[in-house]
């Protein structure tokens, strides 16, 4: 058993036209699988569905938000794919963030203004995480209170349970999960680092193929079994950043 791939190009070689991709990280610089996005943008595929909390903020935003910190030039998010015309749909919680002065429009605004045909499904962050978890966990659907009585409840089934209103939400079925992790072994066991764990650990195992970009590959047995966050069963491919 050896899930280590030699390059990110290899690791994303079978991503296909129209695939749904879970994009790890939260949106902060830490925890985004930049190398996988940079590999995928080289592939001639389109009509992707991108799923994530804040996957398309882009480099300009990160530099504006970083204040005195320096964003590594190697950083990239799924806006690479958006800018490159490869995205058909976003399932997303935060398309843009208002508070920083930006030298240029956000990638999603730019894409729509250019007339690109992009569908946006806006999802409350907790519902997004739970819908991804439901896919990992084989849950057919679930009821949550988030969004009841709002625009985001449009077209959704509601149900009263113990006197409270809930919305019916379905799992997000994805083809690939692109995630980041700190360390992996060749079985695909993963550990993370601080708040970069976030959606990465949620998405691991939630797609047909989970690809982890990691900072370090360690020998089998080097990860303490008590501290492994993502068990090997959830990971299909590992590639060193």
């Amino acid at each position: 058993m050896n899930k280590i791939f030699n390059s990110s190009d290899q690791a994303v070689a079978d991503v296909f036209d129209g695939a749904t991709i879970l994009c790890g990280g939260f949106g902060c610089v830490g925890g985004v699988p930049s190398t996988l996005f940079k590999a995928l943008v080289k592939r001639p595929i389109k009509n992707l569905t991108i799923v994530g909390n804040t996957p398309v903020l882009g480099m300009a935003f990160q530099k504006a938000a970083a204040r005195t910190m320096t964003v590594p030039e190697s950083y990239a998010d799924a806006s690479l794919l958006l800018n490159n015309g490869q995205v058909r749909k976003l399932i997303i919680s935060v398309p843009t963030i208002a508070i920083y002065k930006m030298p240029e429009p956000f990638p999603i605004v730019k894409a729509i203004k250019e007339g690109k045909d992009i569908e946006i499904e806006l999802v409350p962050q907790g519902t997004l995480a739970e819908r991804i978890r439901a896919a990992r966990a084989g849950i057919g659907a679930f009821y949550t209170q988030a969004g009841v009585g709002t625009y985001l409840a449009r077209g959704k089934e509601t149900r009263e349970i113990s006197g409270k209103s809930y919305l019916l939400e379905y799992p997000i079925e994805a083809d690939f999960a692109f995630i980041w992790a700190y360390k992996a072994d060749r079985y695909g066991n993963l550990i993370y680092k601080g708040t970069s764990r976030t959606f990465n650990a949620t998405m691991a195992g939630a797609a047909k193929i989970t690809i982890a970009e990691v900072a370090e590959v360690v020998e089998l047995g080097q990860l303490d079994p008590e501290t492994i966050v993502t068990p090997a069963a959830y990971v299909d491919r590992v590639v060193k950043r």
Partner: protein
Amino acid sequence: MSDKQKLDEQTIAMRAAREFEDGMVVNLGGGIPTLACNFVPEGREVLFHAENGALGYGGIASTETADWDLFNASFQPVTPLPGMSFFAHDESFALIRGGHVDISVLGALEVSEKGDLANWVAGDLTTFEGDITDWIGLDRYPPAVGGAMDLAIGAKRVIVCMLHTTRNGQPKIVKECKYELTASRCVSLIITDLAVIEITPQGLVLKEITPGWEPEDVQAVTEPRLILASDIKEISL
């Protein structure tokens, strides 16, 4: 009225922090609420929760100590504290929805007298004929729902920190929200630059007021009728 002193954002956040009791789990939204992490009252230990999977983080980190792997949900680097923990995003929102956050401090565009909260889109999407793509195409600011809906329905207590009025002096505490709702009947306390107002079944109760301001001044910039608390007092910190 305009020459009277209003509380600054730091002071609003400081007042909010007085609600934090020892042992509480507190989530701070972006903007004014985020500032409250610096004002935990002496002798109390509060566990700050970040949507991106942390509990028990400390204050905002300096450039020297900032770490890309230790951020709060407002994209700010924070400092580690003993007793801190990290978890996946799904667990982070299990914690929110499951009622394990004692206080959620949120910003708001509008709060209604019933405690309805509008804080995620500057406009009324419900009557808008298009979808989100159309909305953005019409040069409107893209709505970002984030975790506000989950916090509003999940936290045991929702406190709103905001300026009392819009830049144009219009009330943000209203009879009915005109902006798109985040959640209905979820807010229990509003802390502004002018007042502390509790939302009760009887209506809005004016509990505290910024020094130098009179109840009628606050009422003048508040759409619903305010009930004066029997023990109304100056905001003190």
